[in-house]
Symmetry: C2
Subunit: 378 residues, 2 copies
């Protein structure tokens, strides 16, 4: 009988696990939020991932449970584990990914390089942080943010009042995360995969280009990163994976600073947008690797097909909603590009797909990947 | 709305179209023979492909209908077309692929190189063919054969009596195909894809190794094939695709003779075992290309990731039926190999999966692909 993997969440990350599972002969099942989700083709159940009974029923017949996102509550995760469900990554590492303040605390305890930070409970504490950091800071809600949501640059202690009020109203007395505004020259990301028996593999360090807080492009490997920078990034990601007991794919988003340090920005314990290039650019995609890792199967080789791979997100898509009408032009203009769409309706700013091109010369590959993706812009 | 492709037949070829469709954002639907087929993940209907009502109902909501196999009867195909279903490849080219005598007639009319052949209706005609060919011939049933079934080497005119009797009993008075036993040094295969608007692309010519009439290994590109041989094979396949109006993937199986000619052996108008290497070895896999071609979308680049790709079939699998138990050993020994399984229960001689390795040196790549696949042998 085929090995069975259950994925909680029916978004594009679950969707892109499907081809890997089909090729490898795995039985993949998805607990989708509802009908018509990106991963609908593998959806065997629909329901709320915060409902322990829904998730337990879904998990009954799988060998391992893993995730499209990090939003399954800790009490649900721990109940699953108590009832013998194999949950990977487990509740402990996921707890670190779920709360940005916990994440900062753990990374600081481990002595890993992070921006200056503080948990601030009110205007007074935020003002103190601003005063100590030149009057500017990034404030983040510890939970639930993604793609730039829940992140704000502030210059006045009153700029986060609405979030303080919201936090007070939940009665949790939850703090906000204040961070120094890092003077970075660029953003990088390091993905690794780790399986329970301890094996870890890394893909090359990549450069990521963000627009409006959303990943727009990824260049693999990051230009001018060979040597110390790549070694340091890999060492950081490997250390986090080991110390936090991460299983599956771990993506570490990094800042490269003006003074050539690298600082950890965010963590994701699942396949990540910065690793989509691996589908077409690496011997083992992050989606196949995640499945191998959570099943505790030996990990695949992470070599690359070509010197450069560039991934460009299709954000929004055409205003008329008709992605299909754009295929002929794009495919004809760039027959070497790999086109990926997520079965999502176009909507401004929404990640509806991505395009990857591999090749020899970074400028040429960037150009072609952008031009191919632009066929799907409004 | 996503472009919708319907596939008749739920075998491994339909299964391997699923990853390509998911990545490209297509809506793929499969008419499976029953539950638990290889392509079950995309099965939206189950039923008999010989029943016109079943196929018409399945085809109602798709933009194009294509196939996992060539067994849909001509009357069903023609009824579909009459009712406005877009069928690719169409009834006319499929008719040539469905009957080996028709195929030989058409190729002969086109002046393409084929083995000596004759349609033989009885012992007398077969004896005449044997007498003219040194007392040996290959006899084939014109329809329904695959993987060496329906193919027999004969040395006496009575050796095909059972097939003559069976043909007489059907009342069709159907002939058998007699062919010269070609003195070949090796077998080759040339795959191309053609779309209705006329565009054709070709992958490199490959060498195929058959065991007991079943494809065992494929080496891409075929060693010592650059230049004249590759050009001739591509020209033959392109000519067949054009002249027969094939849409989708066309695989042409070829003999390379002792005297350095190439002769057409068989045709398949769908993705084919000899093209499985393209999943991991080419920019565009035969499965993605088939979908693009039947949708009349511009075709993808057919460049290769590495100088050599070798595919080895997993035939039979372990006697205890437990393929999953073999994963850890295989994946650990060959992390660079790509493993593909079809969701089929192991059974002697059955194609249950394949392994592909790409690399620089043909001997090294052949060794690693064979050794990786051997982990799944009994």
């Amino acid at each position: 009988m085929a090995l069975r993997v259950g994925v909680v969440g029916g978004g594009q990350l679950a969707r892109m696990m499907v081809p890997a599972a089909v090729e490898l002969g795995l039985d993949i099942r998805v607990l989708a939020e509802g009908p018509g989700m990106s991963a609908a083709i593998a959806a065997t159940a629909e329901g709320d991932h915060r409902d322990v009974d829904v998730v337990r029923a879904f998990a009954r017949d799988v060998d391992v449970l893993t995730f499209d996102h990090e939003h399954v509550p800790q009490d649900v995760l721990r109940t699953l584990v108590e009832h013998g469900v194999v949950v990977r990554p487990g509740p402990a590492p996921l707890g670190v990914a779920q709360d940005k303040i916990v994440m900062r605390q753990r990374l600081t305890e481990l002595g890993l390089p992070v921006p200056d930070w503080a948990a601030v409970h009110d205007q007074t504490e935020l003002r103190a942080f601003l005063d100590a950091h030149g009057g500017r800071a990034v404030v983040k809600t510890p939970r639930g943010g993604y793609d730039g949501k829940g992140v704000r640059v502030v210059t006045d202690a009153s700029d986060a009042d609405d979030w303080f009020t919201a936090a007070a109203e939940t009665g949790a007395g939850q703090a906000l995360l204040a961070e120094e505004l890092v003077p970075f020259t660029r953003e990088l990301a390091q993905s690794v995969a780790r399986r329970p028996s301890g094996e870890i593999v890394a893909w090359p360090l990549v450069e990521t280009v963000q627009r409006d807080g959303v990943c727009a492009e990824v260049i693999a490997p990051a230009p001018r990163s060979a040597g110390r920078l790549a070694d340091e990034a890999e060492a950081i990601a490997v250390r986090i994976a080991r110390e936090l007991d991460v299983t599956g794919v771990l993506a570490v988003e990094l800042f490269q600073t003006d003074d050539e340090r690298i600082l950890v920005n965010e963590l994701a314990m699942r396949p990540h947008n910065t690793g989509h290039w691996t589908i077409d650019g690496s011997t083992t995609s992050q989606f196949e690797q995640h499945l191998r890792a959570v099943l505790d199967l030996p990990l695949g080789a992470t070599g690359t097909h070509a010197p450069v791979a560039v991934m460009v997100n299709v954000l929004g898509g055409p205003a008329d909603g008709d992605l299909g009408a754009r295929y002929p032009g794009a495919l004809e203009a760039f027959p070497e590009a790999k086109y990926h769409f997520y079965g999502k309706a176009p909507r401004p700013g929404r990640k509806v797909g991505h395009v990857t091109v591999v090749g020899e010369d970074v400028d040429d590959v960037v150009f072609r990947a952008r031009a191919a993706a632009a066929h799907f812009d409004d």
